[in-house]
């Protein structure tokens, strides 16, 4: 085990940047954000996260447990979260599928939780080390019933660090599970990185407050006071639809209000939750909307397009859900085409189309062969779109 990501030894590595793997950067982000409980089950391509946590957590007085399966892992995390810690787990598609029921439970009992899904290709076992973005809609709708979801997507090693921190912050503030998606290639890539290099992204305000029962003052009216086991209140916690006493209710009005409140506390805060950036803002006829590894290709395509004089902007989304409605619609109003390269058959393109089709033409560019979408492929598509437009 390398020592460089060790919390107490970090000063040494801050002197210069090193090659760091995406999964390791995720673990470092979690440690820096104050995560002290991790339960998981080995699965490629995410295992390096749990290996790093197994080594690091005891060094900082935390707890790591390798459970008997992914279901047990997420349940142990929820148990820890309801005991005043913040639980984190990491997995890939098959494990993420197993976790879905418990994710719904965490939403219902308002347990803060971070789940990292390093995506592999295909359903079932698929291809374990081939990159994919096939779990996007599962991250949104994988658990049953109407529920909110906060889903982030990392595109490089620095993202793995800072978005893990953001996930911790969002989970803690909104008291709900947050899913961080990474394509296999993002989890396994090694890039020049040190936490100081991404210092400008650091989210180290007072937002990481793990005090049991704490609700951030600005959210006090929206986030229910948490039930912390073992507190003076000795509460009852249930996955049944419940009222303010914590006990199940069959009252139609009360249950409707409760479910709406769970939803609203997330969707009312899109401005805070939706992380994104726009390249070449306002100067493109085509906007490439991308996340994860495809966003890297999109950024490279934009640079190539500049050389060729093609008007392209890039909307790089770090938050997939809650949907960045205003962000997408603002861009949609000014461009002729929105091109969405994804390592799936257009899962997110469908969401964008619903939001944008009144103003622009949305083109899905999906790929599921386990290889990346290259900048050249994106550029060729852009050229075709603009050429088509010119010839009309």
């Amino acid at each position: 085990m390398e020592l460089w990501h060790s919390h107490l030894l970090r000063e040494k590595i801050d002197q210069s940047s090193l090659l760091v793997q995406g999964n390791r950067a995720c673990a470092l982000g979690a440690l820096d954000a104050g995560v002290r409980f991790f339960a998981g089950y080995p699965i490629t391509p995410s295992s390096e996260i749990m290996e790093a946590m197994a080594y690091e957590l005891p060094r900082v007085g935390g707890v790591f447990v390798q459970m008997e399966d992914e279901i047990a892992s997420i349940c142990a995390c929820i148990g820890a979260s309801l005991s005043g810690w913040l639980g984190m787990t990491a997995t890939s598609g098959p494990g993420f599928s197993l976790m879905q029921e418990a994710i719904g439970y965490a939403i219902m009992v308002e347990a803060p939780l971070v789940i990292v899904d390093v995506m592999r290709e295909g359903p079932s076992t698929g291809r374990v080390s081939a990159p994919s973005q096939g779990d996007v809609m599962q991250a949104r709708w994988g658990t049953h019933g109407d529920h909110p979801a906060i889903v982030l997507a990392a595109s490089n090693v620095a993202d793995m660090y800072r978005l893990t921190m953001a996930a911790v912050r969002f989970a803690q503030r909104f008291r709900t599970p947050v899913t961080l998606l990474a394509d296999e290639v993002v989890g396994h890539m090694r890039e020049s990185f040190s936490p100081e290099l991404v210092g400008r992204y650091r989210l180290t305000s007072g937002d990481f407050d793990f005090t049991p029962g704490y609700v951030h003052p600005d959210l006090a009216r929206e986030v229910h006071p948490p039930h912390i086991l073992g507190s003076e209140a000795h509460p009852h916690v249930t996955g049944c639809t419940h009222d303010e006493t914590g006990f199940p209710t069959n009252d139609a009005k009360k249950s409707e209000r409760f479910l709406h409140e769970l939803y609203d506390k997330v969707t009312n805060h899109r401005d805070e939750l939706c992380l994104y950036d726009v390249k070449n803002e306002g100067k493109g006829r085509v906007c490439v909307v991308a996340y994860g590894s495809c966003a890297r290709s999109a950024r490279a395509a934009w640079r190539l397009a500049e050389l060729e004089g093609l008007p392209v902007e890039v909307l790089h989304l770090y938050t997939l859900f809650p949907l960045p409605i205003e962000v997408i619609q603002t861009v949609a109003r000014r461009v002729e085409f929105m091109l969405i390269p994804e390592l799936n058959l257009g899962q997110y393109a469908r969401e964008v189309r619903k939001l944008a089709e009144n103003w622009t033409t949305v083109i899905s560019m999906g790929k599921i062969d386990g290889t990346l979408i290259t900048p050249r492929e994106i550029l060729d598509q852009v050229t075709r779109l603009i050429g088509k437009y010119e010839s009309v």
């Binding site: 020592l3 060094r59 007085g61 349940c75 820890a80």
Partner: protein, 289 residues
């Protein structure tokens, strides 16, 4: 004058949801009396239930309580105990919740020998969903999903728990509840994984198809079939088949307990980290702040 057990009971939530004649209340009563005798602190006691008739007992106990998802109560409890070792954590589960959907978590909790107490209410049927066959339903018994009779053999859960590594294992029946109360007390005090199987009658969903004499006959039958570990040792496997072997069946001292073992790992890792930081500081001439 209120009963002693009322300090641990959500009396405002009574009457409870269980059917007339159900044995779950009898064992829940024994659990509450055990809590009184041990003087458990309400703010340091957590009761975790899964899903099913018996798991609902958690909702009547006035300590920190969780009604979780089906089969996973022990996994939640593991997270709670590791995060807050000072808590007394008790899991209430049933034969469907604990031995079918949650069977894997049961054997792994036993294997870890984590300091939890698991009370498994065995009523040999899925009661809440209306009388389906469970892994504890006896050979030939009728259930809505075994309309021609069950042709699978039930577990011997206590032997399973012992083989998997539990260090305190006991079995009792609702028909003879005082010993069960004692097993629960011993289990909670035992510094390791304690497994207590309580055989309870379900006159509605099991009894109406299999025990025409009603709940009193079911209780009499439990008594008649109960034998001690010493008596069991003298019987052949065939003679043992319909017997309920009761008592403290396994009690092992000295096997490492998971949470305490992990705490020693934490102490070692923290010492190592401090040492490395010191070495680093001296190498860099104290320049690192």
């Amino acid at each position: 004058m209120p009963l002693d057990i009322e300090q641990y009971l959500h009396t405002e939530r009574l009457p409870h949801m269980w059917c007339a004649g159900c044995g779950i209340g009898i064992v829940t009563g024994a659990f509450l009396r055990a809590m009184v005798d041990l003087g458990l602190k309400r703010e340091e006691t957590v009761v975790v239930g899964g899903v099913g008739c018996s798991s609902r007992a958690a909702g009547y106990v006035d300590v920190g309580t969780m009604h979780t998802i089906h089969g996973r109560a022990l996994a939640f409890a593991t997270g709670i105990k590791m995060a807050r070792p000072e808590f007394t954590v008790i899991v209430l589960t049933g034969d469907g919740d604990g031995a079918a959907i949650g069977g894997n978590h049961l054997i792994h909790a036993c294997r870890r020998n984590i300091d939890l107490t698991c009370i498994l209410f065995n009523n040999q049927v899925y009661g809440m969903t209306g009388g389906q066959v469970s892994p504890m339903t006896g050979w030939g018994d009728l259930a809505t999903t075994a309309p021609y009779g069950q042709v699978e053999t039930p577990f011997d859960l206590c032997r399973l728990a012992e083989a998997a590594g539990a260090t305190f294992v006991a079995r009792g029946t609702a028909a003879n509840i005082r010993p069960v109360e004692e097993y629960i007390k011993q289990g909670i005090q035992h510094p390791g994984f304690a497994f207590i199987e309580a055989v309870v009658p379900c006159p509605m969903e099991y009894g109406k198809r299999n025990a025409p004499g009603g709940v009193l006959a079911m209780l009499d039958d439990e008594k008649a079939r109960s034998i001690s570990k010493a008596e069991a040792a003298r019987l052949t496997p065939e003679e043992l088949e319909d017997k309920i072997v009761t008592g403290v069946l396994h009690h092992k001292v000295g096997r490492p307990e998971f949470q305490r073992s992990y705490a020693s790992i934490v102490a070692r890792a923290q010492a190592e980290a401090a040492e490395q930081a010191e070495t680093l500081q001296s190498e860099s001439g104290g320049a690192v702040s």
